[in-house]
């Protein structure tokens, strides 16, 4: 009988554990740091207390109950975890390039928690990244916002569940090359890209209408109405029209950026962020007024023709024109030093420290719709923090520790040579990659593109 009770108890406990299983949350007290809050100025010699994953208190001489780990950060700098608004890291596949609109696919299905790149990004202070579909299609798949909780085997553990849904759009050379030139179907031009998006939105309006008229009569007595065929692709587009999904649009030229602003205004869509947006500076006032901002490279240009008339001063011009601006990586390499990428806006445009830091913290958080949780050091926000030995905008800054939800995922003093979680049992010799292919926007489109092999940069 006693045995039975134990068995029952353990079953109940096990069940309860899986019911309430959640991502780890930690407690930590970081003392005496120069705290770069981003939203509330710089606080000298200040403590930050994180309890159960949340920043409980910011102030001087804080104390914590006995068991909480205390870190002396005297002489060091504490900033919010860095947020990358555009990445393909930890995604096994990036492009479903088979049609100009593939809104039905989702990057949540291809997240690979074993990617050692996650650890490397953490070692560079990056805690949150937006994993996007590639740029092969005018309307690509849905993206996934991740918190880099390295160490788990379960992809869902690294999803940031509070984050709203997002989707990838793409304009210009990539969709026209893949479909128009590669497959001989629309779009082949920027005119075609506009038409594809307008057609998609219009079709979604009809789909919505069909469901609305069905829903309005289905509960009536003796209703014989039959439901319209469910279509995930159109439902996703309908969700965009309903403001449930934020668009992150791969774009380069000013004309195409302006085009999508107009299309979205026509369809009443205002949750729109432009990414790459190398010529965004030319339509900065429009971006400021009609969009949720622009996420740009710090200095990449000339890797393809549509970014030839670009400038490293892009971010500074956008900032000074009140566009919500962020610096993204789109690269497994740059994601490791976004603090340095942001710092380049001081050379190219003389942004202040606070402006430069906002480019990789609170601004990308706003663009991903997660700024109430992360992106600054404020009481009540999640405990995503990075400690640097120098000011993070200095080229000599080396990240020392990285926390997500108060849990330490990187500590330079505990860093080991090999940080892989999983080692392949079939690989006889470990591959050595001479040319690190960290640009993946066009990953997986080789079938459609004979010219693909000739590309070095494929963003």
């Amino acid at each position: 009988m006693k045995k039975f009770t134990y068995i029952m108890l353990s079953i109940v406990l096990f069940g309860a554990k899986s019911l309430y299983a959640q991502t780890p949350k930690g407690d930590v007290l970081i003392q005496n740091a120069t705290v770069l809050t981003v939203t509330q100025g710089t606080l000298e010699e200040t403590d930050v207390l994180v309890e159960d994953g949340i920043i409980k208190k910011i102030g001087k001489d804080l104390s914590a109950s006995g068991s909480i780990e205390t870190i002396d950060a005297t002489g060091k700098f504490l900033m919010p975890g860095i947020i990358d608004a555009h990445s393909h890291l930890a995604l096994d596949v990036v492009n479903e390039a088979s049609a100009p609109i593939t809104a039905q696919v989702s990057m949540a299905d291809v997240v690979n928690p074993f990617d050692v790149g996650i650890y490397r990004a953490l070692a560079g202070g990056t805690t949150v990244a937006h994993g996007l579909h590639g740029s092969a299609n005018a309307i690509g798949g849905q993206s996934i916002t991740m918190k880099f909780r390295y160490g788990t085997y379960n992809p869902e553990d690294i999803f940031m569940k509070e984050a709203p849904r997002t989707i990838k759009f793409a304009l210009g050379e990539n969709p026209t090359r893949v479909h128009g030139r590669g497959k001989n179907i629309q779009p082949r031009t920027r005119m075609g890209v506009e038409a594809i998006i307008r057609n998609g939105f219009a079709e979604a309006q009809q789909y919505k209408k069909a469901w609305e008229s069905y829903n309005s009569v289905k509960d009536k007595k003796n209703s014989t109405a039959t439901p319209p065929t469910y279509d995930l692709r159109l439902q996703t587009l309908a969700d965009i029209l309903d403001g449930k999904i934020i668009i992150h649009c791969h774009s380069y030229r000013a004309d195409e950026i302006y085009m999508l602003i107009n299309v979205c205004r026509d369809f009443g869509v205002d949750k729109l962020v432009f990414t790459h947006v190398n010529e965004g500076f030319k339509v900065a006032p429009e971006l400021a007024k009609y969009t949720m901002g622009a996420s740009v490279f710090s200095d990449w240009w000339a890797y393809k023709f549509e970014v030839y008339y670009s400038t490293a001063y892009n971010a500074a011009i956008l900032m000074e024109n009140d566009v919500i601006t962020s610096i993204n990586s789109d690269s497994d390499e740059l994601i490791r030093h976004l603090y340095h990428e942001a710092a380049k806006t001081q050379r190219y445009g003389g942004l202040t420290d606070e402006q430069a830091l906002s480019l990789i913290t609170i601004n990308p958080a706003k663009q991903l719709g997660i700024d109430e949780f992360v992106g600054s050091i404020e009481e009540g926000k999640q405990g995503d923090l990075v400690i640097f030995d120098h000011h993070p905008l200095s080229v000599y800054a080396v990240p020392q520790m990285t926390f997500i939800d108060g849990v330490k995922y990187f500590d330079i003093n505990e860093d080991e040579d090999d940080q892989r979680i999983k080692v392949s049992p079939t690989e006889m010799v470990e591959p050595v990659y001479l040319k690190a292919e960290d640009e993946r926007c066009m990953h997986g489109v080789e079938l459609f593109m004979q010219e693909a092999a000739a590309f070095n940069h494929t963003h």
């Binding site: 030839y308 400038t311 390499e333 000599y396 080396v398």
Partner: protein, 434 residues
């Protein structure tokens, strides 16, 4: 400090219209020749320490004197108080001038058809009017090695200064022949060859190189014997390498390959070998040091080559090689973003190389490797006036580069990037047309 920075930015902002007069129709900013007296700077000579409150006189394209309280009639005076003078930075491996738009075949001039084309001259294809050149030089990078790529012997690289209207005006004294050493590594994610195939390919490539070397040696002997030789430009060029007239730039990255390359250099008694790439140099640093072969490594801002590597493998590689006693120069391997050279050096500095050595790795060390240290790589009397003036440490992104001199020419501090900034910072019409 912030306040001072802000003031500088504010000043810069108000000075922008002055800098931008080049945009006025009919007026063009050109490199300015003549004599210049740079007054009261902190001179970072690289080879002779740091000189406070020192003047530098530039005349006839050269640094004619360095000292306190210099005067020179007719020289344009530039007040450099509170500022720093550095020698121009040298990027020892780029595609600058050989490509305009990365993805467009029509503008790619770095890779010729053929596996053995050492006679292809980078200097021929360098476009002095490339938009990337002003973009690069305003950052203080004044000198680059432009390198062809592809195949076993892709061509002949050339060292150029980033000012001039013809490649010959830009050429500054060094040519070398790159060779891609056969590798047992995968070239990238798309390289789906089996381990066996990779091994076979590498063996075949090495056999090819040995055959070619043999032939070049024979060609050299025949040439030395003044034999009547048929036109054979590939061998003519390689014979110069065998003879030691031209250095061999051996591109090699994987640790095992580096060891093989060093062995090969010894076997073939290559007289003037330089290793390039060397991304896994840290694994075999002692062997490289013992072989006494100089290294051009980079980009430093790169991913580790193996998944099992430490996250900072690429950042710390130059420092580790230096500690082992290797002569190390740093390159970006870039074209349009060669301006990131000081940041590559900055990361190398932060991850073990130290500031002073990292600065050397992009000034005097490459000058020595290329044998051009008689006129480049440091601030010394008699050397070329190829230098820049900054308001701080050039590795720091918050530092502004104030002036750049190349071969004594004061180059205009503008580029298409800066002109776009000037035009679009405040657009007119703004959102509405009034």
């Amino acid at each position: 400090m912030r306040k001072i920075n802000l003031t500088i930015y504010a000043l810069l902002f108000f000075l922008l219209p002055v800098l931008s007069y080049g945009q006025i129709e009919g007026e063009v900013l050109k490199p300015e020749g003549g004599s210049f007296l740079l007054k009261g700077a902190t001179v970072v000579t690289v080879t002779n320490g740091i000189l406070e409150n020192t003047d530098v006189l530039i005349s006839n394209g050269k640094i004619s004197s360095i000292g306190a309280g210099l005067s020179a009639s007719g020289a344009t005076e530039i007040d450099c108080s509170g500022q720093f003078i550095y020698p121009g930075m040298i990027d020892s491996g780029t595609r600058l001038g050989l490509v305009e738009v990365g993805s467009l075949a029509e503008t790619q001039d770095y890779s010729e058809i053929g596996n053995v084309t050492p006679n292809m001259q980078a200097l021929t294809a360098i476009n002095p009017n490339s938009v990337s050149i002003p973009v690069t030089r305003v950052s203080g990078v004044t000198t680059v090695l432009s390198v062809p790529s592809g195949g076993l012997f892709p061509g002949t690289a050339a060292l150029i200064n980033l000012n001039g209207y013809t490649p010959d005006q830009m050429y500054t004294g060094f040519k070398g022949v790159p060779m891609n050493f056969p590798t047992s590594a995968r070239r990238g994610r798309w390289d789906r060859r089996s381990d066996d195939e990779i091994k076979k390919d590498a063996e075949k490539a090495l056999k090819d190189i040995n055959d070619i070397w043999e032939r070049a040696s024979t060609y050299m002997k025949l040439e030395d014997a003044e034999a009547d030789l048929q036109y054979y430009p590939e061998m003519q060029q390689l014979a110069k390498v065998v003879r030691g007239e031209l250095p061999l730039l051996i591109e090699v990255n994987k640790a095992e390959d580096i060891k093989n390359a060093l062995k090969w250099v010894k076997e073939k008694a290559v007289q003037n070998a330089i290793l390039t790439g060397v991304s896994e140099g840290f694994r075999v640093a002692d062997e490289i040091a013992a072989a006494d072969v100089p290294v051009i490594t980079g980009p430093v801002l790169a991913l580790p080559s193996r998944n099992s590597d430490r996250y900072d493998a690429a950042y710390s590689n130059p420092g580790k090689m230096l500690k082992a006693g290797v002569k190390v120069a740093i390159r970006t391997s870039d074209a349009e973003n060669v301006r990131n050279l000081p940041f590559n050096a900055g990361f190398a500095a932060a991850y073990g190389m130290g500031k002073e050595e990292a600065l050397k790795a992009i000034t005097i060390v490459p000058a020595e490797i290329f044998g051009v240290d008689d006129h480049l790589g440091s601030i010394e009397e008699g050397k070329s006036a190829t230098l820049f003036i900054s308001d701080g440490d050039p590795f720091e992104t918050s530092t502004q580069i104030m002036h750049v001199f190349i071969d004594g020419y004061k180059v205009p501090m503008t580029s298409r990037h800066i002109r776009l900034y000037q035009e679009f910072l405040e657009r007119n019409p703004g959102l509405e047309k009034h």
